[in-house]
């Protein structure tokens, strides 16, 4: 076959090569590309193994259960209890999800079901912008706006009305650097993500289901509630799980507003010390203390394992629902 018929591009270099040579380069490129494609699974495994190996010195000495439930963190005395940090991570994440999920779902439902196309075209870039803002900028916003707000208004208000009867709202921390501040900042950070996933999931519900429901006289909200949402629920839950795994691992913004006190918190106004903040604040310093390095990489390992489980489950669910990743 004369190769010069392949005039797909203005470049003639490739068209002048002989057929065997073109076939060979195609074959070799295929092999090379397939090697590149091994990278993602290999990197994921390498991370797991590297962290496991580096955390092994401490895992070898202390029973894993003691590490996970130990409440004292005194590296100088060789005591490494991760419990306060794990609890801190969970608290901040739960508070952020509690704050983020209802408005995000409503916003996504609005965008998917009610909004005019014009509103959608304006909103999508806005939400992308919100997602593009760096975490350290969210942290600045947290320190400048949210922390004083919690300190001056929210904490006194709750302290006066609910704090005495409900320990969850008790105010013992004089500053605004608290779980609530971290939760609010995180809620805004994960909002674009949850909105995007929910929007996609609702979009994937076939139009016919809405039409059938509207045709029998249901209102729009009834249609959404009884026809659309039941189908969308697994996908929405997966989106929330993915969102919370982002929240779990978020470092800088949380670190800046959450107070970083290594104590098990009991109220949303208490400071906390989540795992990512622990690693960020201490890694690289004082690595001469025995086991410190292993303990911090152990913290990274815990974080990695939680996120892996969350992500794999949620991704598999979402793939069935919308069949593609959501950015």
């Amino acid at each position: 076959m004369p190769a010069k018929f392949i005039a797909l591009s203005s470049r003639t270099r490739s068209t002048e090569a002989s057929l065997p040579r073109r076939r060979a380069s195609d074959f070799l490129a295929g092999k090379a590309f397939s090697l590149f494609a091994l990278l993602p699974p290999v990197i994921a495994l390498a991370m797991l193994i590297a962290l496991l190996l580096r955390a092994r010195p401490i895992l070898a000495i202390k029973p894993i259960w003691d590490l996970l439930t130990g409440e004292t963190w005194k590296p100088l005395q060789g005591e490494f209890g991760f419990f306060p940090f794990i609890v801190g991570t969970v608290w901040v994440t739960v508070v952020s999800m509690f704050l983020a999920v209802p408005p995000c779902l409503l916003t996504a439902i609005y965008l998917a079901e009610y909004a005019q196309p014009a509103v959608r075209t304006v909103t999508k870039p806005l939400i992308d912008l919100l997602a593009a803002i760096p975490s350290v900028v969210y942290g600045v916003w947290g320190i400048v706006v949210i922390v004083p707000w919690v300190e001056d208004y929210i904490a006194p208000f709750f302290g006066r009305w609910l704090g005495r009867s409900i320990p969850l709202f008790a105010v013992t921390n004089p500053t605004g650097f608290s779980i609530l501040a971290g939760g609010i900042v995180l809620a805004v950070m994960v909002a674009p993500f949850i909105i995007a996933v929910t929007y996609e999931v609702m979009h994937a519900v076939p139009e016919g289901m809405r039409e059938a429901s509207l045709a029998v006289g249901a209102t729009r909200w009834q249609t959404i509630r009884y026809a659309v949402l039941p189908r969308a629920t697994p996908g929405i839950i997966a989106g929330v799980v993915l969102g919370s795994s982002r929240a779990l691992g978020e470092t800088m913004a949380v670190l800046m507003v959450v107070g970083n006190v290594a104590k098990v918190p009991s109220s949303i106004f208490d400071p906390a010390y989540p795992l990512p903040a622990l690693i960020a604040n201490n890694y690289g310093e004082m690595l001469s203390i025995p086991l410190y390095d292993a303990a911090l990489l152990g913290a990274a390992l815990i974080l990695l394992l939680i996120v892996l489980v969350f992500n794999i489950v949620a991704t598999l669910v979402l793939r069935n629902v919308i069949g593609r990743p959501v950015e």
């Binding site: 916003t107 806005l126 975490s135 350290v136 600045v140 909002a191």
Partner: protein, 287 residues
């Protein structure tokens, strides 16, 4: 009775609509407040010296200087990382688009990509640091680039993969029908047709990379100088914000706000610029 039920339905509809409007305002308002905060706090402290000078002696006590070291450092870090990430991502995405025969294998690669995408940047930082220890590297530009490239790679690959799925099949088949190989089709038809989307994906990853602090915290270090070699430590804008905010001096904190403004402007420019560029490049695609 029936009337009342109808009424109830409409009231319910109204309440839900009101709640939606409120939620929407809350989300949009948050974005507004964040941008406002950064501008109001950052603009007064921003001046030309901030952008054109490196820190002088006593800068962190409020004396003269600027954050040029961090601006240049961030561009080096994110630029290098984006380049490496692109060199890894494009082959993977092309493989998934044009070469893979085994659907299961493609699924595994994509799942691994999704998983990597979700791993927190602090874990990339810790992992990058262990790689550096193994290679005998200290905190340096190279170390930072490695960690950031690992962080950006899944973001970029997923985005490019997503873009390549939009490739019109007819166009590809037309190329095959003319006798071109998969490689030729990929390089001269697929990439060219999908260039706008690929550029957007690359800039998306660049934006994430330049704004990330946790992955460069131990891997890139921090310095007042502009690095002259890959093995020197390097400053970055997110860390400049973080460290300056951590000082007890109001003048230095004001500079942290200004640095945050600079970072936000860069990131938003990249985000908006990628849309514009995609639009511009869209002309070369066959509609």
């Amino acid at each position: 009775m029936k009337r009342r039920r109808l009424m109830k339905r409409h009231i319910e509809e109204g309440i839900v609509k009101a709640m939606m409007a409120l939620s929407f305002l809350l989300v949009a308002g948050s974005l507004g407040i964040i941008l406002m905060t950064v501008i109001v706090k950052g603009l007064p402290a921003l001046n030309l010296a901030m952008l054109t000078q490196t820190p002088k002696g006593g800068y962190y006590l409020g004396k003269e200087g600027g954050i040029l070291n961090a601006i240049i450092g961030s561009l080096y870090l994110a630029g290098g990382a984006t380049l490496i990430a692109l060199l890894l991502s494009l082959p993977i995405a092309l493989y998934l688009r044009s070469y893979v025969r085994n659907a299961r294998r493609a699924d595994i690669v994509r799942l691994a990509m999704d998983v990597l995408w979700g791993i927190p940047s602090i874990v990339y930082g810790a992992f990058g640091f262990t790689i550096m220890l193994a290679l005998g590297l200290r905190a340096s530009l190279l170390g930072g680039i490695i960690a950031l490239a690992l962080l950006e790679m899944p973001i970029m690959t997923r985005a490019i993969d997503e873009v390549l799925r939009m490739m019109p099949v007819d166009l590809e088949q037309a190329s095959f029908a003319l006798g071109s190989t998969r490689l030729e089709t990929a390089l001269y038809v697929v990439i060219r047709q999908m260039l706008p989307g690929i550029v957007t994906a690359v800039l998306l990853a660049f934006g994430r990379g330049i704004g990330d602090a946790a992955s460069v915290l131990f891997t890139a270090g921090y310095t007042d100088r502009i690095p002259t070699s890959l093995l020197r430590p390097v400053a970055s804008l997110p860390l400049a914000v973080f460290f300056q905010l951590g000082t007890p001096f109001p003048e230095v904190q004001a500079r942290a706000y200004a640095s945050a403004l600079v970072l936000t402007v860069i990131v938003l420019t990249v985000s908006l610029g990628s849309r514009w560029l995609a639009y511009k490049l869209g002309k070369y695609a066959i509609k």
